[in-house]
Amino acid sequence: MREESGLTLVELLVALAISALLTSLAGTALRLFLTTSQAGSDQLVVLSDQRTSSFWLARDAQMTPPTGVDVSPGTLTLTWRETITDGVHQSVYSQSSENLLRVHSYEGMTSTIPVARHLAPAGFSAWLEGELLTVVITSTRGGASRSWSELTHLRSHGQATP
């Protein structure tokens, strides 16, 4: 009886120590797991910025003749004339805090959409070399950061500058 109670105390201590060790290991593993999934989610968000902004920039720039491009620091203006309706389109891309905004106007109607939401400070720049428009965008969120450039050859044929 006496031996048994002594043994139980030692067992209890050992069990406590083991469970404390296991708990701390589990806590570390859980924190690692959450950190990893947060990093993955940040990466996906930055990738989505790239996909969306590339889509809209290519869409607008492929319609624009070289003479319809106006580049100033932080702002890119694309102007083109639609051949069927003869209406004038204008898309203005500019950085507003962390957003890259696309303000599109056509026949007096204006719509604004953000095409990227996690730009780095001064994360948007554009320049024109002859008929080649280059746009460089840097998007960052948490530990994830991504910088990419989009080239567009401006089609000069058949479209007069408004």
Partner: protein, 124 residues
């Protein structure tokens, strides 16, 4: 306790229990780890894909901005991100004249082809 367990015949039951418990914990661990691994691999795939797409599209636009070279020809390429390489080849279009050509842009990553983009360039 040990001696008591052996005597009372509890050992068999607790061994089976321990094995089952270990198996269950191991199974849960395998599922969790494989989920994490699949997530990481998918992310790397998506990220590589986005890089390749952007590179291929920019390369195609770059070719269209160059002077027309008679096919077959290789057009100058952009500087790709580290680990990637890109090529742009022009080939003749069967049944058409020499003023149109097929452009094939191939993006490779780690020596393997990851994306192939085709387009046409005209001499005008």
């Amino acid at each position: 306790m040990w001696r008591l367990s052996i005597v009372s015949g509890e050992e068999g039951a607790s061994l089976v229990e321990a094995v089952i418990a270990t198996a269950l914990v191991g199974l849960a661990l395998v599922f969790t780890l494989s989920a994490v691994s699949v997530g990481a691999r998918t992310l790397a795939l998506v990220s590589g894909r986005a890089t390749a797409e952007s590179l291929a599209r920019s390369q195609m636009e770059y070719v269209k901005a160059q002077a027309y070279l008679p096919a077959p020809a290789s057009y100058p390429t952009l500087t790709p991100p580290a680990g990637y390489s890109v090529s742009a080849e022009a080939s003749a279009v069967a049944g058409a004249d020499a003023d149109i050509q097929l452009i094939t842009v191939i993006v490779t990553h780690g020596g393997e082809e990851v994306l192939r983009l085709e387009g046409y360039k005209v001499n005008r």
